[in-house]
Every structure is written in structure tokens, then in C-alpha cells.
Symmetry: C2
Subunit: 328 residues, 2 copies
């Protein structure tokens, strides 16, 4: 292969684009606001601009061979149609087709969690492991599965909804309408909500203080700060979230017997308490044989896991000789 | 291919063996007691005898090309070593090697639940579906995963332990030592235990009657009989089990987005109440997109799913041209 690929991590707030060589080495990168409100054509145009920008910025000779892009929301990775992306205001957008028309190279699309999993699999914590589960804990909880050495999509590209496993039938209501989902019990949003309820019921002083006295402004970060300062209530909120996370991870281990569970996402930063509580629950609930075979590790690529996954996806297409669908 | 394959479903109580042609059509079958107490060599000898028996019984010309065998307990499907099979009294038994030495043909080993899944995938309810989950509800709850069109083993052949997903952290204790496992809440054993507790606390008259007045002899079948006769307590036990099963199945659907969940095993026969309660919970807890894409269906092959899976495994080896490991 002579030439380069681009990877794009498309989010509700930013477009993160990089140019890479055939080894996945990033040669240039750029981050611009998505400005989803300006409409679909504008967002597509901005994606294309960032690609031209990184190509120019890298100052390399040779053609752009392919583009990989991770998008939020349910989508069809074969057709490259994004079914729904509420934070982009998208509804059945033929992302692959539009970008191929404008760029003239094959474009491969997958969802952001799957590409974060692929990024960690190819370049990060999951190198060399063919059975790997990626879990991202942030405002929500998502995931991507690498099974038999490649992304597992399920029958309709819906696999990996780790956040919507029921962890406790008597648990709190989730955004999905169900009760006791992992996401409703262990996400950053869930920790913040638990803290706000505590404050509403007259407790949580240290947390409120860490949030600058604004109860509505309580975030997982405020809980983390109060816990770091030794506050017992904040610590308990994090421990509860960690235990729920541990039940979810143990369920995954018992069902999938992975070699690796990689945990990423902003809410994993609330401190070691979360990790310890998770590990304790996994030790309790995962079957002995599978528990001995699995490593629980933090994501290595930080904010670049999705971007590098997009690069890996583009490179896989180049290696397989995939032509642009619009040119077939 | 000219010749035949044999499939063996090896259980704690019986050895079930069949001869099949290249289309998986069974030409002869035999079932003999395992007699595990007579020792390993005796069991191996009896397996070999059944293979010779069905070959003779079928009265066909042409060589035996391969054998597939499903064994209970954790094992290594690559080496064919059964790590542990408590109901056979086995500990690190090189089943593949022993049978290859005695039969002189390639032997492929996998665990019984995986082969039941494969049987349903190739010959039963799962024909044509590349993403399929098989769940067996009997004295325990087990399962096998067909992902990307083939058996998914996990990193150490431990995948598919559906029965040990935590369904309710506050649930009853499981044989594995954990609390609230699916198996502890929805297996035949769990239903019988719930009924015995009811009787111990002074209730469950109709169930006790269905069990012939012997509280210790209460089984899921007695619960099923009482429920069929309209007993409210028995019905509730089955509904509770069905709901737990539904949570487990919904978790699988959200995680794996399968096209099909196939449910088999003796305890699925307790009546339509179990199925209805399961479906209700799945409707509540599975994400809309994945729920629309999945079919929940009963196993089609009944007591032959494992046997036919063993036949399918043998045929896969023949098609792939796998030589016996001991001859390599």
C-alpha cells in the first residue's frame, strides 16, 4: 500500500480527524466543533474539510486511500446509513455514500463504541487478544465486542449494549424506560443523580460543597472530589456504582469468557474506589475458571480510542481491497 | 466424501450414539447406560462399542470418517481434554486422544451445551441464522453461543455460562456460591426449591399433593402439574421463574443482538406460563431495535440436539480435512 488513510471520530460536539500511515501512525490531527445545528450538509462539509486539512497539514505525498468514521447512534455498518443520532439531529443519513461522493475514496462506517473497541484491540490495551470486551463508562455506559478477533455486530448492528443489561430488577429507572439497567446504576449520570438525591434529602454536604453549592450542578466530578477528600457519602456512591459495574462485568465474563475487559470513558476517572469495588464484585460473581483467564485493564488510548479505531477500520478496508460502494 | 460419521452425546447417565451420512441423516442410533462408576476405561470402551454397534446396525458399506462427541463439564475443545466432569468422576481426561487411538479416526470434542447449540444451528430451529443463542433450562441452566456463524468458545472454552449471570443481586444462593444467578432463580431445581420452601412454611398444598404428599420429592414436574390444574401458588412459582429467565434473555439480547434465541431443556416443559412470563419480561427489558430483530423459539430437536451437534461437529472436521491429532 502506498498512500494514507483518514480516521474520523464524529461526536455531537466535535469532529476529530486524523491522517495516518499504513501502520496506523497518526501524521496529523485536527478537532473542530460539529455544529450539528447548522444542518447535515454543513456537518458533512466540515468532515470533508478536516480530511483535506490533515492531508495538507501532514505534508505527505501519496493518495488518500480510504476513510474510516465512527458515528454515534444505531447504524448499519454495511450500508453506512446512520439510523438515528439524536445529538446530531440525524435520521437515516447515508453517511458512507455522501462522504464517498465528496471524497472519492472508500468510506467505512461503524458506531463509536465499536470503533473504540477496535482501536484498543489494534493499537491499545487489547493488542493480540482475539476475545475482548470494551466498556465505556461516561454519561452513559456503552461497549463494543471483539469476538473471534473482529468486531461482533450482532444480527442488526445492535450488539454491545452493555449499559442496558439489567443489573438489579428493583433498581432505578433508566433513560431507556427499563429499571435497573447498568447505565442507570453506574454511569457518571447515575452517580451524579444519586448525589443530588442525597442532597435533596438533607445529606451530601461535602459533595454539595465540591459542586460550588449548586445542587443542580452536581456532577460525577463533584462526587469524585468529595470522595478524594475522604467524604464517606461520596465514597459510598462510588462504591455502589463500582459494585453495579462489577456485576455487569462479571455477567459479561460468564457469558463471553473474554481474555480482556478494557474499561474506558470519563467516569472511570472518579478514582480507584470505583475500580476496587468493581474488582471485588467480579471476584465474587465471575466463575473461577473464566475469572482466572480474564484481565481487567484501563483503556490505553484515552480520547483517541475511537479515532484510532476509525483508522484501523479504514486500513482493514484497504488491506481487503474494498472499493467505494458508490463506484461499484 | 464417501463414508459416514458418528456422533456421541455423553452424559452422566447415558451414552447416546448415532451413525450419520454426510447430510447429517441418522442411519442408526443406540442409547446405553454410562456406568461412570465402573471407571474411565470402561466408559471409553462402552463409547467405542456403541460406535461399532451403530455402524453394524446401519448395515452400510464405507468407512467411518470421523467422530464428534459432546461431553459434560469444562473442557478444551482444541486438545479434547475434559478438565472436570463431576458426574463422570473425570479429571483431566484426554478424551480425544483415547478415542482416536481406539477408533483410528479424527475425534472432535466439545461441551454438551455448545453441541446442542450447534445441532439446533445446523439441523434445528437455528438453520440459516449466523447469530444464535441456545439456552437450556433443566436442573441447571446452560447455553451455547453461535456467533459469526460458528460456536463461540471464549478465550478458554468457558463461554456460554448463561446460568451464572446475576439476575438479582438479592436473589437466592446458587450452587456456584454466588447469589441471584439465573440458574438459582429459573432452573427446574430452583422451581422445586421454591415449592419446597412454600410447603415448609405451610403453603403449597396443591403442589404437595401433586408430589404424592412427599415434600422432599417435590420437583418442577409437580409444580407444573399443580399449575396446570389451576393452583395459584404453583402458577406464581412458574411466573417468577419465567420473569427471571426473561431478564436473562433480555440481557443476552441487549448484549449480543442475536437473530434467534432457542430455548430447550426439560424444565421448559412446565407449561406455557413460563414462556409467557419470559416473553413479557423480554418485551419490557430488551431494547426496541434488538427486540424487533430477535425471535424466541423452542428447540426443535428435543433430546437429539446434542447428538446432532456432535454429528455436525464430526462433519465439519471431515469437510475441513482434519486428520486425527494422534496421527499428525
Amino acid at each position: 500500500m502506498r498512500g494514507f488513510v483518514a480516521g474520523v471520530d464524529l461526536g455531537g460536539t466535535k469532529i476529530y480527524t486524523a491522517l495516518a500511515d499504513q501502520n496506523g501512525r497518526l501524521l496529523a490531527e485536527v478537532k473542530v466543533p460539529t455544529r450539528a445545528r447548522e444542518g447535515l450538509q454543513s456537518v458533512i462539509g466540515r468532515i470533508v474539510e478536516t480530511v483535506h486539512h490533515v492531508k495538507k497539514q501532514a505534508g505527505v505525498e501519496g493518495p488518500l486511500l480510504a476513510l474510516g468514521i465512527g458515528a454515534p447512534g444505531p447504524l448499519n455498518a454495511a450500508t453506512g446509513v446512520v439510523y438515528q443520532a439524536p445529538n446530531l439531529g440525524w435520521d437515516n443519513v447515508p453517511l458512507k455514500q455522501k462522504l464517498e461522493e465528496l471524497l472519492g475514496v472508500p468510506v467505512a462506517v461503524d458506531n463509536d463504541a465499536n470503533l473504540a473497541a477496535l482501536g484498543e484491540h489494534v493499537y491499545g490495551a487489547g493488542r493480540g487478544e482475539s476475545e475482548m470486551v470494551y466498556v465505556t463508562v461516561s454519561t452513559g455506559i456503552g461497549g463494543g465486542l471483539i469476538l473471534h478477533g473482529r468486531i461482533y455486530h450482532g444480527t442488526g448492528y445492535g450488539a454491545g449494549e452493555i449499559g442496558h443489561m439489567t443489573i438489579d430488577p428493583a433498581g432505578p429507572r433508566c433513560n431507556c424506560g427499563n429499571y435497573g439497567c447498568l447505565e442507570a446504576m453506574a454511569s457518571g449520570t447515575a452517580m451524579a443523580r444519586a448525589a443530588r438525591r442525597l442532597v435533596e434529602s438533607g445529606g451530601g454536604r461535602a459533595i454539595l460543597e465540591a459542586a460550588g453549592g449548586d445542587a443542580d450542578g452536581i456532577t460525577a466530578l463533584a462526587v469524585a472530589r468529595a470522595a478524594a477528600a475522604g467524604d464517606g457519602e461520596a465514597r459510598q456512591i462510588i462504591i455502589n456504582a463500582g459494585r453495579a459495574l462489577g456485576i455487569g462485568v462479571a455477567n459479561i465474563i460468564n457469558l463471553l469468557n473474554p481474555a480482556l475487559v478494557v474499561l474506558g470513558g470519563g467516569a472511570m476517572q472518579v478514582g480507584p474506589l470505583l475500580w476496587e469495588a468493581m474488582e471485588g464484585e467480579v471476584a465474587r460473581r465471575a466463575l473461577a475458571a473464566s475469572r482466572k483467564q480474564v484481565r481487567l485493564v484501563p483503556a490505553e488510548l484515552g480520547g483517541q480510542s475511537g479515532l484510532l479505531g476509525a483508522v484501523a477500520l479504514a486500513l482493514q478496508g484497504v488491506e481487503a481491497g474494498v472499493p467505494p460502494a458508490t463506484m461499484v
